[in-house]
């Protein structure tokens, strides 16, 4: 075997993530296990983060096989009560906590919970893979999903023909898929795209992010919203534009850090930490793992986008770890 080929093999081994679509920040620390960690990690919260938490837990358990993990993900709204009741040590959420939720937490503990920005999601609007629509503006998406049309689109959009699509698409009705109200994605979409307007009654509310994608996959006239990590070969993420006349920005990895994609958001993990106090060793190590090279590689594996080394350092400092 020629020498150059060998070099490529070695390179591939040294940095398997280098060939993925988004490179990991080289400044992210490699996680080194420490001694004496055991106990239970209990996470309750977001469905968008459900698989990511599971991947982190699996990776963490590879370092500490004795740590027990229990992961539930029924929606971001289940995280605050679980943190307040103390039934969970981690509360993953795909939207920031609401004022009332923070207040509820403060009432019990006297301080606000700590939010860690663990990774970046691009909330995508999915259509069936055969749908030829080129792109959508926020006002159009609003008119598709909301009955209030707060963004001021002149007419209700109920048919793909209204976008001037050809052939059989001209008469195909739009079929709506969305999440249930416990979901953080539901709240995020409502706030940022629908201008806090209400969803139409015809939105088929699904129990999970993956269910939304599967709904759109099997329904040629379907449209739905979900995290980018749930994309499959059967759906297409529609390029979006904030306003009429602006360029459509696709939900592709190169847009993750430019800030141009209008629905990029941080995926958060909340923890109960008294300001100034030290975290429990198990919590501390799990957070260190999440912001390590291995943890952020798991983010890539789930289809989301990793944080940069600077952001990771900031989060670790906020948690009082470094």
């Amino acid at each position: 075997m020629p020498r150059w080929k060998l070099a490529r093999f070695v390179l591939a081994l040294a940095a398997p993530a280098a060939f993925a679509q988004v490179p990991l920040d080289a400044g992210l620390p490699v996680y080194q296990p420490v001694e004496g960690i055991s106990g239970t990690i209990k996470s309750v919260g977001s469905d968008t983060l459900n698989n990511l938490m599971t991947l982190w837990a699996e990776g963490f358990r590879r370092m500490y096989p004795n740590v027990q993990v229990e992961i539930e993900g029924k929606g971001s709204s289940t995280a605050p009560p679980a943190l307040i009741e103390g039934t969970a040590t981690f509360g993953p959420m795909s939207r920031p906590m609401k004022e009332a939720e923070v207040d509820g937490f403060k009432q019990k503990y006297g301080y606000a919970p700590l939010a860690l920005k663990t990774s970046i999601d691009m909330l995508a609007v999915y259509v069936n893979k055969d749908n030829p629509v080129e792109g959508l503006t926020f006002a159009q998406v609003d008119a598709i999903f909301s009955r209030d049309r707060k963004l001021g689109h002149p007419e209700d959009l109920v048919n793909w023909g209204q976008f001037g699509l050809p052939g059989e698409w001209a008469t195909r009705p739009i079929s709506l898929y969305g999440r249930n109200a416990a979901s953080g994605t539901y709240g995020f979409f409502k706030e940022h795209v629908l201008g806090k307007g209400d969803y139409k009654d015809s939105v088929k509310e699904q129990p999970g992010s993956s269910a939304v994608v599967q709904g759109v996959a099997s329904d040629r006239g379907g449209i739905g919203y979900s995290g980018i990590g749930y994309k499959t070969a059967d759906v297409r993420a529609v390029p979006l534009a904030m306003a009429e006349g602006e360029d459509f920005v696709p939900a592709t990895p190169d847009q993750a850090y430019t800030g141009d994609y209008p629905l990029a958001r941080f995926l958060l993990v909340y923890v109960n930490r008294r300001p100034g106090a030290e975290l429990d060793p198990l919590q501390r190590e799990f957070i260190r793992y999440v912001f390590s090279r291995q943890g952020q590689e798991d983010v890539l594996k789930d289809g989301y986008f990793p944080v940069t080394a600077a952001m990771a350092r900031e989060a670790l400092q906020a948690a009082g770890i470094e």
């Binding site: 093999f9 060939f19 993990v69 499959t232 198990l282 789930d302």
Partner: protein
């Protein structure tokens, strides 16, 4: 005239008296029910069993110069926009997620230039990143090519595979058993410090003693750790020497460490017997392994075990209470409006939606009872909850409540079926009330009671909705039973096959790959319930023989 009118009427009456139409009606109903059940079972069995079969790997070259290689997952035909009739397109499972960012890819037949089934198309199942499809290029030993054509690279892989697997097992044993023991010692010393602090105050004598003990244990533990880590490192180093280099269809080359490979096969080269061997080995992993990659790969053993154990604990909880309640209602209580009211309430309980029981279980068992237990006995663990969250015990008790009416009603029916003359005979011989119940009534009623238990178990094992609130979780690889005292850990959350089906179907990141698994897990759940029922039926048959014949 009147005789002529009467004749057809007699004929009609005769038809119904014979019962001919009713035979057809009831028989038809049975046939329809059987056909639906058979259809459902056939769907589940067929879909569930083909999932793990190693299908052929197809390589297609596209008109735009790209090449795609993978297993064909399914195909569909679409009306072409060009107007030359429907076009077939196929969904390829292409894997190689770290290179392409996709697990699956659609390819239309009209885009294909050439199609082949390469002999050396390898399907590599890995511990991380999902499957890899590629052709073996070389076998790397310490980073140098020790073999550089497919056949000899594969031969070297086969040669080194078992040794690598053995070292992996050895590493796992060191990690989970030996390091685990050290970690638990340190953790329990740390908790002792915390509880001494809570009970006696910071700086008190017991607290200082606990701190000293903790420091000693920690020092000793760290030394032990360093030794074990050294051994693990040595195993890792040895394993890292072996890599298999693969080339993907579109020209990328990737070296995969042997330690990351769960299973590799070249389906296009395999004969039928070898395919069955791969199939069997996949089933074995599926039944006995732990899930990987957010449940989309690996096995379901924790879910299988969790379902069975939860059902058994539930039966142990529900049967004594149900039987006692029914005994009191039937044998001791005086019939009257109050007893009727209780019966109506029990029957109504059977109609309450199961999710309501889940909400009750969460509020009462987890928050109130569990929270109290935590504050009283596990204060040192706080803020990490011990019992104050969903767990096996709370799930079993919630389902016990749910299935209580089934047991009570079945027991009452079977008690009522015991002839009164037998009770009276017993009294006449001088036996007391309890003696009569124990010696005469219960043995006769036992088969009926067991029938109620079987029904309750079947209902409990198939129930998912309340469990989502009180303890079934997406990932809990640690089993509720293990070799660490006290062996049974009723406070742990667990995985459940029913919830696993929901998770695979609606929450998996790689939903395309997870969908066939839904059928496989369903098949498994049905088989498990069948098995539990079978055990109960056999038990009932034995008891029937023993008690009923023994009574006479």
């Amino acid at each position: 005239m009147s005789g002529g009118r009467a004749a057809p009427r007699r004929e009609r009456t005769a038809l119904f008296a014979q019962g001919e139409p009713m035979i057809w009606l009831t028989g038809g109903g049975l046939a329809l029910a059987l056909a639906m059940i058979a259809g459902l079972l056939a769907l589940v069995v067929v879909q569930g069993s083909v999932t793990l079969w190693p299908g052929p790997v197809t390589r297609v070259e596209l008109n735009d110069g790209r090449a795609v290689m993978g297993e064909v997952a399914r195909s569909e035909s679409v009306g072409a926009t060009g107007g030359d009739g429907p076009v077939r397109r196929r969904l390829f499972r292409t894997g190689n997620f770290e290179l392409t960012g996709e697990h699956f890819q659609w390819v239309a037949d009209s885009d294909i230039r050439a199609e082949s089934r390469p002999e050396w198309a390898l399907v590599v199942e890995r511990t991380a990143w999902g499957r890899f499809y590629g052709a073996p290029q070389a076998f790397l030993l310490d980073g140098r090519a020790a073999a550089s054509d497919p056949a000899s690279a594969w031969a070297m892989y086969e040669q080194h595979r078992l040794a690598v697997q053995r070292r992996l097992r050895e590493r796992q044993r060191l990690e989970s058993r030996d390091i685990g023991r050290v970690n638990r010692r340190i953790e329990s010393a740390r908790l002792a410090v915390k509880s001494a602090e809570l009970r006696h105050g910071m700086g008190s004598v017991p607290h200082r003693e606990a701190v000293a003990r903790f420091e000693a244990v920690e020092r000793q533990g760290l030394a032990e750790h360093a030794r074990l880590r050294g051994r693990i490192e040595a195993l890792n180093r040895e394993n890292a020497r072996f890599q298999l280099a693969l080339a993907t269809a579109d020209g990328w080359e990737q070296a995969i460490p042997l330690a990351d490979i769960v299973r590799a096969c070249a389906p296009n080269r395999l004969g039928l017997a070898a395919k069955w061997a791969v199939y069997g080995s996949r089933w074995l992993e599926f039944l006995s392994g732990a899930p990987r990659e957010a449940n989309s790969e690996g096995g379901v053993f924790p879910a299988l075990f969790g379902t069975a154990l939860m059902t058994v604990v539930m039966s142990v909880a529900v049967v004594p209470f149900g039987v006692m309640a029914a005994l009191y209602l039937r044998e001791y209580a005086k019939a009257g409006p109050l007893v009727s009211l209780v019966r109506i309430a029990i029957n109504n309980l059977a109609g309450v939606p199961s999710i309501v029981f889940g909400v009750f279980g969460l509020g009462f068992f987890c928050y109130i009872v569990g929270g109290w237990l935590d504050r009283s006995f596990f204060a040192a663990n706080l803020p990490n909850p011990t019992f104050g969250k969903g767990g096996l015990l709370w799930s079993a008790l919630t389902l016990a409540l749910l299935t209580l009416p089934v047991v009570i009603v079945a027991t009452e029916e079977s008690l009522a079926a015991v002839p009164n003359s037998m009770r009276e005979g017993s009294y006449a011989c001088g036996a007391g009330k309890w003696q009569t119940i124990r010696r005469i009534v219960l043995p006769r009623a036992l088969p009926g009671i067991l029938t109620g238990t079987i029904l309750a178990m079947a209902r409990g094992a198939g129930e998912v909705a309340p469990l989502m609130l009180v303890g079934a979780v997406k990932l809990a690889p640690e089993l509720p039973v293990d070799a660490v005292a006290p062996f049974l850990h009723p406070e742990r959350s667990f995985m459940h096959l029913g919830f696993h089906i929901f998770d695979l179907g609606f929450q998996s990141p790689n939903s395309e790959a997870a969908r066939p698994m839904v059928f496989t897990v369903t098949l498994l759940l049905i088989a498990l319930i069948f098995l539990l029922n079978l055990v109960a039926v056999l038990l009932r048959a034995r008891l029937k023989k023993k008690f009923v014949t023994g009574a006479f």
